[in-house]
């Protein structure tokens, strides 16, 4: 848990955010640094209010707050080529796949237990394992019960959009202010490659006809939601050779209809998942392909890069899967008391920590002002949360990647590494997979690191840095960058571009639904 660490003069958070936004030149270029990434940025106040504690929508918030999903919606109304509906195994985690199905009553009990144990849990989502709106009774019953028992928890919903227009009024009635729609295409030709069929109005449609209906329904639903002031995020799965170029058009279309964020995530398609894409050998994008597409779309609207594609029932800070602590079996024997007071107290502490963090970053940025370098480097960070460098290299299950330049530190994504360590691989294999996952990074910032991996990282051209242990991430990344620049200028080191990195297959996915 983070502790408050405020320096003597306090600055109001919103003022600070404005300064940061100005510093990053939001108004002039509009290209980078806007919106969710740097606090409120240029978002309208009512939207910032909605997103500021939402770990899925605000990159800044996801360091501190958490969401959970409950698997109450098993049925689906269509088929995607990246989904294998037969798949259901606790050892594997893939989009929309969970091993435990809950009734609305069980789900509420779980939500209360988790919320009491984890005060940073502020968002409840229903995303599957099928489509929530193909299970409307179960989905809305769950929302109704949670709203009654834990009124401080925000509700959100992820859908493929096919049934969305029919439920917009219900969504509004239940006070659900965050909806995620997965939109992978707006062109039925492209859609036919992704969706074999849909079930709509008592009929199964295939091919282009299916995708035409789907696309119309998705865009109609999106427009209806934003008209009513309900916050909408769009998820897209990047499938190289099928919709990668097309997603730029999707980006434009969803922005025009008022979507607030666009989250482009990589296709996960290992053959052992048994999906059509997996069996066909359809590959996912590399880290650089993904980033290039995200960069291309960024000028259009806020891009979300912190999505870890977590499991649909993941609990805890995004990516930190604590679901095994709250299985049905354990809940049956457990008395649950909803502890609102502790939750409030924790959340106040977090607000202080967030202010301190923003302030530290601002100070470091000022020191960088006037630097006129075109250099950009990527640094990887080992963190347990709270926005600090507080994880040992060897314990890190994932690294956060920041792009640092003279304009500041920009979060660009996560790299999972833990899965490689399972299944009997030795330490050395684990290390080499980490090296691959961080192949495009110049440095890795950690709380601590052993001598052996240190030497190997150096040999691979990645600078292992533990001098910022315990400190705020962005502040440290900028400080590291300053030093890096100074060394390059003094001729101590030579700046070299780095290679591409691999996006790990398997594991940890959720956002697809």
């Amino acid at each position: 848990m983070p502790t408050a660490n405020l320096s003597s003069h306090t600055v109001r958070l919103d003022e600070l955010m404005q300064k940061i936004a100005k510093h990053k030149g939001c108004s002039s270029s509009g290209k980078t640094g806007c919106g969710s990434k740097a606090g409120s940025g240029d978002l309208p106040p009512e939207i910032w209010e909605k997103v500021k504690n939402h770990p899925c929508y605000s990159e800044e918030a996801h360091h501190h707050y958490a969401r959970m999903h409950v698997a109450v919606a098993p049925a689906c109304n269509m088929q995607c080529n990246y989904c294998n509906r037969k798949y259901d195994c606790a050892n594997e985690s893939r989009p929309g796949v969970v091993s435990e199905r809950l009734t609305p009553e069980q789900a509420v009990k779980k939500v209360l237990a988790v919320a009491s144990a984890i005060p940073q849990m502020t968002v409840l989502g229903i995303a599957g394992p099928g489509d929530p709106l193909a299970n409307p009774d179960k989905t809305f019953k769950t929302f109704e019960l949670v709203a009654k028992a834990a009124p401080d928890i925000k509700l959100c919903l992820s859908t493929n959009g096919l049934a969305l227009p029919d439920y917009v009024d219900t969504i509004q009635k239940f006070n659900i202010d965050h909806v995620t729609i997965t939109i992978n295409m707006i062109d039925p030709e492209v859609g036919a490659e992704i969706y074999p069929w849909i079930f709509y109005r008592h009929k199964r449609y295939r091919g282009k006809e299916a995708s035409k209906i789907l696309s119309e329904r998705q865009l109609e639903g999106l427009e209806m939601l934003t008209e009513r002031g309900i916050l909408c995020k769009v998820n897209s799965v990047m499938i190289p050779g099928i919709n990668d170029q097309h997603l730029v058009e999707v980006n434009r279309a969803v922005k025009a209809r008022g979507a607030f964020l666009h989250n482009i995530m990589p296709l996960i398609s290992a053959p052992e998942h048994g999906t059509v894409f997996g069996l066909r050998g359809q590959r996912g994008p590399t880290a650089q392909e993904l980033k290039a597409l995200q960069d291309k779309c960024e000028g259009e609207m806020n891009m979300m890069r912190h999505c870890r594609q977590c499991r649909a029932d993941a609990v805890g800070l995004l990516g930190e899967d604590r679901s095994q602590e709250f299985t049905l079996e354990k809940l049956r024997t457990q008395e649950v008391k909803y502890d609102l007071a502790t939750r409030r107290a924790y959340q106040e502490l977090v607000e202080q920590e967030r202010k301190a963090k923003a302030q530290a970053k601002q100070q470091e940025l000022q020191a960088l002002a006037g630097t006129r370098s075109e250099l950009k480097i990527l640094v990887a960070v080992a963190t347990k949360g709270g926005g600090r460098i507080n994880e040992h290299f060897g314990h890190a299950k994932e690294f956060q990647i920041y792009e640092v330049s003279a304009t500041g530190a920009k979060f660009i994504g996560h790299r999972r590494v833990d899965l490689y360590c399972q299944g009997g691989f030795g330490e050395e294999d684990a290390l080499s997979t980490i090296l691959q996952a961080l192949g495009d990074c110049h440095a890795v910032l950690v709380a601590k690191i052993g001598g052996c991996p240190k030497a190997e990282l150096k040999a691979a051209g990645i600078d292992p840095v533990d001098q910022y242990a315990g400190q705020f991430i962005e502040q440290s990344a900028i400080a590291y960058f300053k030093e890096y620049l100074a060394k390059v200028e003094r001729g101590e080191i030579e700046h070299r571009a780095r290679g591409d990195a691999q996006i790990r297959q398997g594991g940890l996915l959720a956002g697809v639904a």
Partner: protein, 74 residues
Amino acid sequence: MPYKIVADNCTGCSACEPECPNKAIYETPDGLFAIDPNKCTECIGFYDEPQCVAVCPIEDTCVIDTRYPRYQAV
């Protein structure tokens, strides 16, 4: 002939259950779904295609049960 659900294929996703116009589909104690042959009308009189077949995500899971005669519309 009514339809039946091949238990080995069924994932228990429940998608078929609410679609049946005759409420012929029910959940079994092991969390899968089954069709009551006395209630199934093959969707005749309701829809052009059997709804359970059209919505089921797994091919060859909702199939004709040849042990029974064809459904006769009354």
